[in-house]
Amino acid sequence: MTQQSLSPSSQPITLAPHDPITLDRVRRPRAPRWLSALPLPLLPFLIFCVLLEIVPVIVLIRDSLRVQGLGAFTFANYQVIADPLFARALGNSILISLGTAVLGAVVGGLVAAAIVSGSERGRRLSLGLVAVTSNFGGIPLSFAFIALLGTNGFITLLLRESFGVRLYPGTFSLYSWTGLTMVYFYFQLPLMILIFTPAIARLKPVWREAAATLGAPDWYYWWRVGLRVMAAPFIAALALLFANALGAYATAYALVGGNLNILPIQIGRYIEGDLNYDPGKASALSLILAVFMAVGISIAYTLTQRSQKWLS
């Protein structure tokens, strides 16, 4: 180090260490404002987000605008959604996601209400169980259902051998919209319970007591107060469940392969298929799907903000 570079910073050392006035005047090296505004402990997470969320989205947008994902600039990739096959795939995806979201939200909402009204011990136990099941998804989940309800599944055989009820062929098939709905429901339900229980728990007991004091029966309290306050968090949860189901690929693919027409499977054919390899179209379809997910998540976010007013 040269003498010159030392001179500005070496100055404080010569000052009396206990003199507060002098110390105040010392110019300590300070981080630039943008850097100090950055929460340092969050940095790894931010890098993670940039690398694994933002960069992929940018690449996706770029590839969706190029022939085959690597050629000349084009908008043609987005035209695939005009093809009835893909339009129906999008429709089917929205339908099954919305259907299982409503199913999951209604049943999960009731379960959450039951959990909240139960004892503290029961609440902890059931939320623990729910947390475990909510982490069970993807290919293992589909295989578990096949092992239970497939043509040679445990329940299928039990019903046939012990009760003479034949599920296959004809009565029931796991490899159908019904089957897919069941499997989706399995991962929607615990998610709903997990996100909705805290909201219900924040309903203030004083509201109910006030209503009761004024002579309102229980149902009247729920109708005029409880449900109205819960409406925003409920729809927020519903929108999250919708987005959650929309992107499901592994679960659906492991169960039904190409036999049901939903958008994630069509995207998979363009990326992994031996026949119609086209990352450009896959990217375009992914972005179309992402727009619908973004709508779901935005609704959830907005309504959560609004419900804070009542529930904080």
């Binding site: 050629g71 000349a72 054919r269 119609n276």
Partner: protein, 377 residues
């Protein structure tokens, strides 16, 4: 896909030509047309007449990079090991890619080439030719390869193929079906599983085979689509996949798949599930895989030497050991392998697609019509 890739290629040519012309004009006062610079290195052999030079060249390169030729596939682990020790080549790397990805990467990496050799489903050969990613090379057994299985100029050559078979779980199915026609019988309700014809070559070839069984050919695969539409309507098509896990669980009871996979699965499930392998009597189909050499290969001699080895009797026997069917007609199939395969006579119903330009169009038709026409999606 051809058209899109073609337009991409035209653009690439244009850009390359422009850059080359610009560079030449800037640097060289004695201007020559850019075409003169676009040609291949002239000293690369296009046949195996000078083996010593080929081996010396490969040893100097001392490395080979492949796409879509991983160790686990069709006994390729032993193939690479034998090749490398035989010719004293130190290094091999593989990236496991699908056929379309291999071709796309050859092209995309033309300026910074990585891979030397690839293994593609034969239905992609016309694309590879149109995009001009292949280098010509005729190995020393070239004349023994059937005409349908090689490019006249040596740009690709089939190295092995699979035969489409039924694999039947005899614990759950009786009697064993023997033809596509018999699969329509009520005994096989909700029992027939195939791969996705819109996503997987195996499934696409299955529809092709059904077309052959019902009077169609490579110019007309509609009978195959009609057959499967009928199979769906009588309720015999089962939406599970003919893969190892589903055979093991007893979910897939009649699966249509390549014989090399079927034989492999049966070995793995021995003692758990009783499986019988049948070549359908009314028609089966050969699913060939072709060798392509990257025109811009960084190790061009090693790539050519590898093709020569794969297509030698020694290389072909190694493929046979992995249950693949060798393309050379006179290769002896190892006894323990022959004992597991259906009797040689049963393969008489296996058809080959002779014209892959037609075949390619048929493939697209099957992929596009499967959802809307057959499944009514």
């Amino acid at each position: 896909m051809i058209n899109v890739l073609q337009s991409m290629l035209d653009r690439r040519k244009l850009v390359k030509g422009g850059v080359a012309a610009g560079a030449v004009l800037a640097l060289n006062p004695l201007w020559t047309p850019p075409g003169a610079f676009a040609q291949d290195e002239p000293d690369l052999p296009s046949d195996a007449s000078d083996m010593d030079a080929l081996i010396a060249g490969a040893q100097a390169e001392n490395k080979i990079v492949s796409y879509g030729m991983p160790d686990y596939w069709a006994n390729l682990g032993l193939m690479w090991e034998t090749f490398m020790s035989k010719y004293d080549i130190a290094e091999h790397e593989d990236a496991d890619l699908s056929s379309a990805q291999e071709i796309a990467k050859f092209l995309a990496e033309a300026e910074n080439p990585i891979a030397d050799i690839g293994d593609i489903g034969i239905q992609f050969a016309p694309t590879a030719i149109q995009l001009g990613v292949c280098a010509p090379f005729k190995n020393d057994t070239w004349d023994q390869i059937p005409d349908w299985a090689k490019h006249p100029d040596g740009l690709w050559a089939v190295q092995y193929y699979g035969n489409l078979v039924f694999m039947v779980n005899t614990d759950l199915v009786d009697p064993v079906p023997t033809s596509f026609a018999s699969l329509l019988e009520p005994a096989y309700a909700n029992s027939v599983s195939i791969s996705d014809p819109a996503g997987a070559a195996q499934g696409n070839f299955t529809v092709f085979a059904a077309a052959f069984a019902n009077g169609g050919d490579e110019a007309n695969v509609q009978p195959g689509l009609d057959y499967f539409k009928n199979l769906v309507e009588v309720g015999n098509l089962k939406p599970t996949s003919p893969d190892l896990a589903q055979f093991q669980k007893g979910e897939t009871v009649i699966g249509i798949l390549w014989d090399y996979l079927a034989l492999e699965f049966r070995d793995q499930l021995e003692g758990q599930v009783n499986l019988e392998i049948v070549v359908p009597e009314d028609a089966s189909i050969a699913g060939p895989y072709a060798s392509i050499i990257n025109k811009w290969a960084p190790h061009p001699h090693a790539a050519r030497l590898m093709r020569n080895f794969i297509l030698s009797p020694e290389g072909q026997t190694i493929y046979a050991g992995g249950y693949a069917t060798p393309i050379l007609p006179d290769v002896e199939i190892p006894e323990e392998v022959a004992a597991k395969r259906p009797p040689a006579g049963a393969f008489a119903s296996v058809r080959t697609i002779e014209d892959w330009n037609l075949g390619f169009v048929a493939f697209q038709q099957i992929a596009n019509d499967w959802g809307p026409y057959v499944l009514g999606q």
